[in-house]
Amino acid sequence: MIRNFLRAALVSLGLFAGPAFAEEPFIVVQSTTSTQNSGLLDSILPWFEAETGIDVRVVAVGTGQAIRNAINGDGDVLLVHATADEEQFVEDGWGVERFDVMYNDFVLVGPKSDPAKVKGGSNIVAALTAISEAEVPFASRGDDSGTHKAEIGHWDAAGVDPAAASGTWYRETGSGMGATLNVASGMDAYALTDRATWESFGNRGNLEVLVEGDPRLFNQYGVILVNPEKHAGVRAAAGQRFIDWLIGPDGQTAIEAFQLNGQQLFFPNAK
Amino acid sequence: MRDLVSEMARHITVKGVQIARNGSALLDVPHLTLGGPGPTLILGPNGAGKSLLLRCLHGLIVPDKGHVEQGGVLLNANHKARQAMVFQQPVLLRRSVAANLDFVLKRQGMPRAARKMRIAELLVEGGLEGKARQSARSLSGGEAQRLAILRALALDPDTLFLDEPTSALDPSATQVIERMILRASASGVRIVMVTHDIGQARRLASDIVMMQGGHVVEHGAARQVLDDPQSDASRRYLAGGLVT
């Protein structure tokens, strides 16, 4: 019995030396759940990998965590959506240079019954004001992500301090976009989400898009090479190659070509 | 002559041994010499200190006061290496019957082929041939104790201590074990054995150490102790009285 167990273990040890540890060139991209969960990266990365032979390993977390991981040097490229924070990241010397990549937009989703009566509007600030006045459930990321930062900005514009209502109608999940949408779906709450995650989300329940089209809901993505002068291990050449590809014609075309449910989700806008 | 020398070397002497717990003496043996070749049986009621004395003789317990000598020198590692002990409850390794024997043979540095032969011999001696590959823990009580004795004999000891090895066994199993002990004794192994069974003492002993309340009350040739006891305690015990 023990002998068999050990044998099985040794066999698996041998297997280990296989694909998982094979040394092929790769880079680690710290990115956000929206680019991964929507399927965008799964769609465009094979093009890059086929062309260059560089394997792109994506760690998908919230923008806040992605930036902190990049500051720690645990990634070669940062692909996130919080422009002010990205510029700060470069200014502090953690990144080399920031490039616009693409944009999509945020949408306000909520229950079909729409107790705050915001449906059909295109003014996110007015909608949030209505929700706070009606004191109907709102599910927030509460995780320092790009979406969370954007949401906080809109509450500020509305002159509402939702933190004061934390635990009552304002529910902070402290989780990713998908987990937050699961919560919203479960409790018929409103939530701010990027359109890509929403389109790819499979557990909508009673939720639907209620407010969209406000220019303030614009969601810009940027890409930055982590500064190799800060962390010697950064794979700068391969990382730069990925950035060049992403903001070049091939990458931009690949982004444009990505569709979900017959809908284009990301709009390339590299300069 | 050589026999006499080796006989002297096996003499065990207890000098001023005392063990006490919580102020009460459990064992108090000022002087005791175990000489002669024949089996020595330590006899007495429960709690008389028989097992404690046996453990002191084997060096498993260091007494609070006094010491044990063998062949005129303090009991040491060389002596212990030539001693073996069998416990009331056989402690068998969770391995096969043969592996239990192999364990001690291997520790003696015996080469593999020799071990194999010796194991076969021992199994025949204990009537366990055919059970070599069986799990030792699945043996019956009598078989398990036989294996424990075989394993002790595998050490090729000059002295074998046994602590009530048959107290949990039925008469037929007891008989088999008593025969093994007598054969070992006849082949030159010095036997020191604890029992509370007077009949067993009569069947096996050449000399008897009678104990009560932590004291040795009498030590002499078996026939003499059994048929003409000198102490009150011995007389009452042998008469079947309750000795407390």
């Binding site: 019995m1 023990i2 167990f5 099985a8 273990a9 698996s12 040890l13 297997l15 280990f16 998982a20 540890f21 680690v28 759940t33 969960n37 799964d42 390993r57 994506v58 760690v59 998908a60 991981n69 500051i71 720690n72 040097g73 645990d74 989780s175 990713g176 976009m177 998908g178 987990a179 699961n182 779906s185 790819s200 989300f201 499979g202 557990n203 909508r204 962390h231 291990g233 950064v234 | 453990r55 084997h58 498993l60 590692a77 212990k80 290496a81 001693q83 073996a84 002990m85 416990f87 402690v91 390794l93 969770r94 391995r95 364990f103 001690v104 520790r107 799990s135 823990r137 699945s138 050490l155």
Partner: protein, 237 residues
């Protein structure tokens, strides 16, 4: 809910039909956790056995500490390992973050206390029984360790399987140090977390079903072995 039932059976079919992506994930989970348990065994068993037979000041404290570590939150373990392996951390130069090796390290940290604590328990019990006999045979305390480990083997395999159960079902630590990278560090639990966050509850649940299947198989092995161990007179205390 009917739509969900359809989705769920579709997901089960996907798995049973041997979807290569899914099976690669299952295989990686098994490899990482088996490897982690083997390393934990190499560390935890001698440590547990040493704690069982050795007597030194502070031993009780160590045992209490070890038992407490059994319930260490995986996320905290993940964070600690992340801080060690990060390029900013002391072991950053090894470039182990976001590799299966990092996940193995995290699981070793999680599983070793379990293996060590259970080993100590089993070996201490056995040592009590064997103590006089082994001393009579002239086996020293140190030399008794391999004897005790070998004789406790059935109970120890049970301990290893318990450790394996914790390792393979764990998500908090491996998602932090592995990064849930597709084709590299994506295992069953992190896939379940990902698919749940995508709202693909049926697929998540189907993967959960495989995990439960593995857990059941492991537990069946544990109980069979315990039964055998019991028959041979050795049980967990």
């Amino acid at each position: 809910m009917q739509g969900f039932a359809v989705e769920f059976s579709a997901a089960i079919a996907l798995i049973l039909n041997g979807d290569p992506e899914l099976w690669a994930i299952v295989l990686l989970s098994l490899k990482v956790s088996i490897f982690a348990v083997l390393i934990s065994a190499l560390i935890g068993m001698p440590v547990g056995a040493a704690l069982a037979v050795a007597r030194f000041p502070g031993r009780r404290v160590l045992i209490i500490l070890m038992n407490a570590l059994m319930g260490f939150p995986p996320v905290v373990v993940g964070l600690l390992v992340y801080l060690m392996l990060s390029r900013s951390g002391p072991l950053g130069v090894l470039e182990l973050l976001y590799t299966p090796t990092a996940m193995i390290i995290a699981q070793v940290v999680l599983v070793t206390p379990i293996v060590a604590a259970l080993t100590r328990q089993v070996v201490e019990m056995l040592a009590e029984e064997y103590s006089e006999q082994l001393r009579s045979l002239g086996v020293s305390r140190l030399a008794s360790v391999p004897v005790l480990l070998w004789d406790a083997r059935l109970a120890l395999v049970t301990a290893l399987l318990a450790g394996f159960g914790r390792a393979i079902a764990e998500v908090g630590a491996v998602i932090i140090v592995g990064g849930n990278i597709n084709h590299v560090t994506r295992v069953m639990t992190t896939t379940i977390a990902l698919e749940t966050s995508k709202g693909n509850l049926a697929l998540a649940l189907a993967l959960g079903a495989i995990l439960i299947g593995i857990a059941v198989a492991v537990n069946a092995m544990v109980s069979t072995l315990s039964l055998r161990a019991e028959r041979e007179g050795l049980r967990h205390a």
